[in-house]
Symmetry: C2
Amino acid sequence: MLIDAPLRDLLAAFASPDPTPGGGSASAVASAMGASLLLMVAALPKTRSNSDEDRAALAAASSVLTGVRQQLTESIDEDAAAYDRVVEAYKLPKGSEPEKSARTGAVQRALRGATDVPLGVMRLSAAALAQAKIVAEHGNPSAASDVGVAEALLRAGLEGARLNVEINLGSVKDQAYVEAVRGELSELRNVS
Amino acid sequence: MLIDAPLRDLLAAFASPDPTPGGGSASAVASAMGASLLLMVAALPKTRSNSDEDRAALAAASSVLTGVRQQLTESIDEDAAAYDRVVEAYKLPKGSEPEKSARTGAVQRALRGATDVPLGVMRLSAAALAQAKIVAEHGNPSAASDVGVAEALLRAGLEGARLNVEINLGSVKDQAYVEAVRGELSELRNVS
């Protein structure tokens, strides 16, 4: 699994011409780093005013971010697996009509899977960006640059995941699904 | 070393309240992923028009990006080491005047080191962004989303590194150094 690989090897895998891991997994890594940095700031012994209100707000943010970070981390491998299934589906035989029909069904199912994973990364990145505002408001001001880096990484993860949603969505034929995803994309575009 | 750690452990280290690794190393990881994805697209067997011109342009871009990726990868650990030296310098004794003077000198040297590393990440990210334009122009159009993700990651790495330069530069007393860095920051701000 990618998350068990040494960082050095993961970077080499991104640089190799093999289809996975690609931009979808890299976007999930960026957002997982962003959520992790927010958890770091929320866990610092000092807070903005060392008040109980700060500690309660940061504890609540940490609780949300712990789940978000876990799901973003799982998305790193899920994105690669989902895209591998698209590649496999395209390799299915298409000699006869029943084969063609089975292949089309498999490709369409795989494409929806490869759309759903980065769409999930977009939702999780947006959820972490909402918590970043709370961490910035209540966290140790000397860690402000870490919150800023976290926000830059989460925005990059959100944007990178959006590019992956759109490229896969372009080949999905189920118009009800396509329109539902497009609606969610335009809502998530307003997140910052 | 961070680059030898499994990704799962690296993310946990970012989330821990220990001072390093922090946003500086995370920014270098983002840019190293961006440079890696550009190398992936440049290494694909298909190019935009499968012309010799494409292949020559992509080979030249790969040559630059290989060095940039290597230096960005080294910056991941260098940033953490540079910040650890700042923390160590602040712990030096300050009981006597000679101790105070030695401590101030050590802190100032360490702060410049902790400014130089993210400044280098900014330069490398800008260099990779320049190559992204060449990869987009000559590379396989079906990998356009990977180029887009690479650009988003490199911009996040550039921005994250800038935040780290500025926070350390704020404590540097050598005004000639501070002004030289500020001049370079405003040039690098125009990169996109």
